[in-house]
């Protein structure tokens, strides 16, 4: 799917980082907490923005093709589904092997997110983060053991940081410049 944009389009001048123009940004702000649950959600989103439903849909599909939107879906809250144990596992992995190993870790079932992040020595030596989900801590530990053996000698140390409490969690990702989120 491709939507051509004219380089001299008026929006081009207002394109924000990430290739979003002002209308895209307004759509992001209007949908980040969810689509309206009405028969034609696209028109409901577009109406206050002065565009029709087809344009909203087209722009969102374009953002999805560009990787800005990963998916448009019914997003489950795993905690409410019984995945009560969520362990952020952090690993000190040899930089020479991290690309290959990061991809391998990400492919394991139960890993929902896997990122490389910078070390802050000496207090924070961990450069690979993998989020594990299970019903119990024992489930998460089993998964962490699998990761440990997959990483082998390239891994020097690791920790599992369980969440003891969710203090804030919102679907909101992108705040308007002057917004103060509640």
């Amino acid at each position: 799917m491709s939507v051509s944009t004219c380089p001299s389009d008026a929006n081009a001048a207002t394109t924000a980082p990430g290739g979003l123009d002002a209308v895209d940004r307004a759509i992001v702000l209007a949908t980040q907490a969810g689509l309206p649950l009405v028969p034609d959600p696209w028109s409901a989103v577009g109406k206050p923005l002065g565009i029709d439903g087809a344009e909203v849909r087209q722009r969102m599909q374009r953002m999805q093709a560009a990787g800005i939107i990963r998916r448009i879906a019914a997003v489950p809250n795993h905690y409410r589904l019984g995945y009560l144990a969520n362990g952020m596992t952090v690993w000190d992995v040899d930089d020479a092997h991290i690309d290959r190993l990061g991809r391998a870790v990400a492919a394991l079932p139960g890993v929902s997110h896997c990122y490389r992040r910078p070390r802050h020595l000496p207090e924070w030596p961990y450069n690979l983060f993998a989020m594990l989900h299970g019903q119990t801590h024992a489930d998460v530990e089993r998964q962490a053991d699998e990761l440990r053996s997959l990483l082998g000698d390239a891994c020097r140390d690791h920790r599992i940081l369980y969440s003891s409490r969710i203090l804030k969690k919102t679907g909101l990702r992108l705040a308007g410049r002057s917004d103060r989120q509640a």
């Binding site: 849909r57 939107i69 990963r70 489950p76 019903q135 003891s164």
Partner: protein
């Protein structure tokens, strides 16, 4: 775990990876599931109200839709909730978890761009009077597509 019937589960299983992107998505889902559009809408609404679904809508790659950063701060346990409240009040904070580690508060700061992100982190760091561990994502190895939910295993006997 929330009590979910077969239709709830079919909705989650079939659409956690993506909705049909057409003019009337809930009608298309209804057709696939053999129920009415009104029923799909009502179910999604109640699953959302019960927080079984976080939302029905787009999942953004926030690294591409603006700027964001995972940060952590180490605070004495006795002050943890007080500090968490300060963090939660800050513009742009969208997740905040207490975790079992010396770095015991972990949150995600978001902003429209890198400059605003840094300004927000600097302001919060000054307000807290404690150094923030700043852990930007350097590379994402995973495209989060959800994962199959083993309903039978989740059943409480």
């Amino acid at each position: 775990m929330a009590a979910l019937d077969l239709l709830d589960r079919r909705l989650i299983d079939a659409y956690q990876r993506g909705l049909p992107i057409c003019e009337r998505p809930y009608a298309a889902m209804a057709e696939q599931l053999g129920v009415s559009e009104a029923e799909v809408v009502a179910r999604l609404q109640s699953l959302q109200n019960e927080q079984v679904l976080s939302r029905v809508g787009p999942v953004f790659d926030h690294a591409r839709a603006g700027a964001s950063l995972l940060a952590a701060v180490a605070v004495p346990e006795a002050e943890r909730d007080e500090v968490a409240a300060v963090i939660n009040r800050s513009a742009g904070v969208n997740h905040n978890y207490a975790r079992e580690h010396r770095y015991n508060l972990w949150f995600v700061m978001t902003a429209a761009d890198e400059g605003e992100l840094e300004a927000r982190l600097d302001a919060l760091e000054a307000e807290l009077g404690k150094p923030l561990l700043r852990l930007p994502m350097l590379e994402g190895f995973h495209i989060d597509l959800g994962f199959p939910i083993p309903w039978a295993e989740l059943e409480v006997p």
